[in-house]
C-alpha cells in the first residue's frame, strides 16, 4: 500500500485560473506534494485520474463516474496500483440542492457512511446570498456509523481554493484513508465545479 496515505492531515490547492479544465494538488502536513490531478474540459463522463506528481507518470487513484448524467451520479474509487475497487460515493441529487450530501458505499453498493455539508443554515446562506456571504467557506464531515471520521474544511480565500482534510483519531479503523482522499477529490472536482 502506498505511503501517501500515512498522514492524518492533508490540504488541497486548486488552480482557479485555468483556461480549459482544472487541476489540483494535494499536500501532506509538511507541504510535500503527494498527489496531483488534472482534468480536461468538456468530458462527458467524469474520470478523475490522480497521480503522484505533476509528471503524471505514476497513477495512484481513479475516481470514475458511472453515468454521464451528473444528478445523483455514483463515482467508483479504484486504487490504480492494486487495481482494486475501494468503494464508491453517490451524490444525493435532491438533498444536495439545499445541502451537499453524499453517501459512501461499500463494494456491493450498501451505504456505510455519509458525507455532508456542515450546517443546513450556512448551506442556505451560501446558496441564496450574494457578495461576501456567498464566500463563507464550506466544511464537510464524513461520518461512519454516526462517528465523525474525516473533516473537510475550506479555507477563506477568494483567490485560491484551499481545503484542509483531517482524519480524526481512530478513523483508520472505520475507513480506508484512500476513500477519505477520494471524498476530498470529489468535493473539489465535482462540488467545486457546480459552485
Amino acid at each position: 500500500m502506498s505511503d501517501y496515505i500515512d498522514h492524518d492531515q492533508y490540504y488541497i490547492r486548486k488552480k482557479l485560473i485555468k483556461v480549459l479544465g482544472s487541476s489540483f494538488h494535494i499536500y501532506d502536513s509538511e507541504d510535500n506534494l503527494i498527489l496531483f490531478s488534472s482534468q480536461k474540459a468538456f468530458k462527458l463522463k467524469e474520470d478523475i485520474r490522480v497521480f503522484s506528481d505533476e509528471s503524471m507518470s505514476s497513477e495512484r487513484l481513479v475516481v470514475k463516474a458511472r453515468s454521464i448524467i451528473d444528478f445523483g451520479a455514483a463515482y467508483d474509487v479504484v486504487d490504480s496500483e492494486s487495481g482494486e475497487k475501494l468503494g464508491a460515493f453517490r451524490r444525493k441529487g435532491l438533498k444536495s440542492i439545499l445541502k451537499d450530501t453524499w453517501e459512501l458505499l461499500d463494494n456491493d453498493d450498501n451505504p456505510v457512511g455519509k458525507l455532508q455539508e456542515d450546517s443546513g443554515c450556512l448551506a442556505l446562506v451560501r446558496r441564496f446570498s450574494s457578495g461576501l456571504l456567498s464566500m463563507i467557506p464550506q466544511s464537510f464531515f464524513l461520518e461512519i456509523d454516526g462517528k465523525r471520521a474525516v473533516t473537510y474544511s475550506q479555507r477563506f480565500n477568494p483567490v485560491i481554493f484551499k481545503m484542509d482534510v483531517n482524519l480524526e483519531k481512530g478513523s483508520r479503523e472505520l475507513l480506508d484513508p484512500r476513500l477519505a482522499l477520494a471524498g476530498a477529490i470529489l468535493l473539489v472536482a465535482v462540488e467545486g465545479r457546480q459552485a
Binding site: 470514475k64 458511472r66 453515468s67 454521464i68 448524467i69 451528473d70 444528478f71 455514483a74 467508483d76 479504484v78 492494486s82 487495481g83 482494486e84 475497487k85 464508491a88 463494494n107 456491493d108 453498493d109
Partner: protein
Amino acid sequence: MAELEVVCDCGHRFNVPGSLRGGMSNCPSCGKAADVPGGPEKLFWLVLGFWILLAMVVLVPSAGYLFYTGHTLGGWGVVVFGCLLVIAIVLSM
C-alpha cells in the same frame, strides 16, 4: 434490481447487483476491479438526439422558407437553434 453478469479481464464471470450498472466491481477471482456493463447513457443520447432532431425539423423548413422568400430573418433561426440546444443540454443533465 436484477443482477448483471460481469466478465473480468482474467476470464472469470460473476454476478453483481443491478445498482452497479455502468460502474465497477471487484472480481472474486483476481480481486481487481472489472467494468460492469450498461449505464443510463442511452437515455442521455435519446434525449439529446430528440432535441437535435426537433431543432432540425423546425430549422430546416424555416431556413428554406426564409431563403426562398428572401427574408432576412435568418438570425432568428440561430436563436431558436441555440435555445433548443440549451434546453436539450439542461434536460440531459
